[in-house]
């Protein structure tokens, strides 16, 4: 195992984050505050409670998930796409690092950033509403697993994309809608039965539901199912990454 190699990649990626520290902290704080103003104040005055939790508190886990997903993807995808775009990837390809080491370095750094981001949003939310965390360990586990899974997904996206448009289109066209429709801001049980069934095909539902359960013990689907689905995605992404490097897909010509 090339530990120095992993460390070099991880440090490089974290340094990139540090250079944009202001933006990394300020933008989630601002957007979270905006959500609370718009959703919490405007909608919260009509929907006071969902399943015994005040609306403002209810949306916190969904808000964190929303940022976690988009940030993990954009961070990890950019991390590997940019060297491809600028040509510096030659060094990575010519270095004695294996698939595992490259992925641990890039995805580890992206996931770390996402987890930190989750913490920042949580702290900001705490400033606006009461946040309870009934199962902190589970909460952390969901946070880490989701950050890892979507960082891996972002990594795959970054490898696959051969222009900036492709890089941007998946988060906007796929991930954001799935998150909004996945119960970030409402309970699935509030939907008509047909839509409830349709919604169950949305993988993000399971992530948000499990995550929210760790806060307030209310869930749209069984927690066990949420854990299984989360691990399932992680596995799918791991297999995809393994295949990418085994075949040299889009990295080596």
């Amino acid at each position: 195992m090339n530990w120095h190699g992993i460390k070099a990649i991880y440090k490089f990626e974290m340094a990139r984050t540090r250079r944009t520290l202001f933006q990394s902290i300020v933008s989630p704080v601002i957007s979270t505050s905006l959500y609370f103003v718009v959703f919490g104040a405007a909608i919260g005055s009509r929907i006071t409670e969902i399943d015994g939790v005040s609306y403002g508190s209810f949306i916190v886990p969904g808000l964190i998930m929303l940022s976690l997903l988009t940030e993990s993807i954009s961070n990890a995808s950019f991390g590997i796409y940019f060297p491809k775009f600028s040509g510096t990837i030659y060094e990575l390809l010519s270095a004695p690092v294996s698939v595992v080491e490259v992925v641990v370095g890039y995805v580890g750094a992206a996931a770390t950033k996402s987890v930190i981001l989750g913490g920042i949003i949580l702290a900001t939310a705490n400033f606006f509403v009461d946040v309870q965390i009934l199962h902190p360990y589970w909460m952390f586990l969901f946070l880490v697993l989701t950050a890892l899974t979507f960082s891996l997904f972002g990594f795959i996206l970054g490898v696959w994309a051969d222009n900036w448009e492709k890089l941007a289109i998946v988060p906007t066209l796929v991930i954001t809608p799935l998150t909004f429709l996945g119960g970030s801001f409402y309970s699935i049980s509030m939907l008509p039965p047909v839509w409830q069934t349709v919604t169950l095909f949305n993988p993000v539902v399971y992530l948000i539901s499990g995550f929210r359960w760790s806060f307030y013990e209310n869930a749209d689907v069984a927690v066990g199912l949420s854990v299984m689905m989360t691990c399932g995605f992680l596995l799918v992404c791991i297999v995809a990454v393994w295949w990418i490097f085994k075949t040299g897909y889009r990295l080596r010509v």
Binding site: H4, A8, R16, S86, Y90, E91, S94, P96, V97
Partner: protein
Amino acid sequence: MSGESPVLQVENLNKIYDDGFEALKDINLEIKEGEIFALLGPNGAGKTTLINIICGIVNASSGRVLVNGYDHVTDFRRTRSLIGLVPQELTTETFESVLATLAFSRGLFGKPPDAAYLEKVLKSLSLWNKKDNVIMTLSGGMKRRVLIAKALAHEPRVLFLDEPTAGVDVELRQDMWQVVRELRASGVTVILTTHYIEEAEQMADRIGVINHGELVLVQEKARLMRELGKKQLILYLDDPLPEIPRQLDAFDLQMGSDPDELIYSYDSQANSTGITALLNELRQAGIHFSDLKTKQSSLEEIFVDLVKRIR
């Protein structure tokens, strides 16, 4: 040269790109440890493709590459940690500092941090006073230096320089050749490509010529120049000749750029150069000369000749 054992073996290497283009055709090559090998060839000949395959950036279509006896695919950790590459294109990080990018390269290649060594590398490339500069703010030539420093950061035993002197000023060129000489003195093998043939002539122990994906020639430089290089005898005549007399036809003489120059080309390897006979004939024809000199064709002339002949 520190040894004769091959540090690099390329066997039956082929490369067909996805679009069906055959960039390399059955390349066989052995590089000895500690030598400087110059790979010459016109644009698009396949030099970069060959180097990129050896370094692991491009996949070969068939054939194999051994570095120090280890296969470069199955034993990539061993082979790649021995190799350093300065790519042809100027591709550097943008926002990193010079020192940080070197530390990154070293770590990536599995070496523990060594500030003293990196300092030495930076100093040898006159980059030490720029160590904290963000790479984006450096000039093109300095970025080239950074690329060389990065390639040396992990103390490679084999260094590939893919056109290191393209667009580089005299000073950097001299710095670079100084570095190459020092590397060679410490036993590092250097494989370079260049379009400046006088560089190959000065630096290389052996020369390989690649054309349309085929390795058409591999030869000791000295021998190549002796065998393929023609010698010329230039005579400076007392009186310019209106034309070359018929009785000298057998010597295939040529007029020089000045009318008082007469040029005789001969093969220095042949048993008889024909010089004595020529001088006799000249005296009989009553042609007098005040001075003479001999000149050996440069590698450049040999190269141009060779590529023309292959076409």
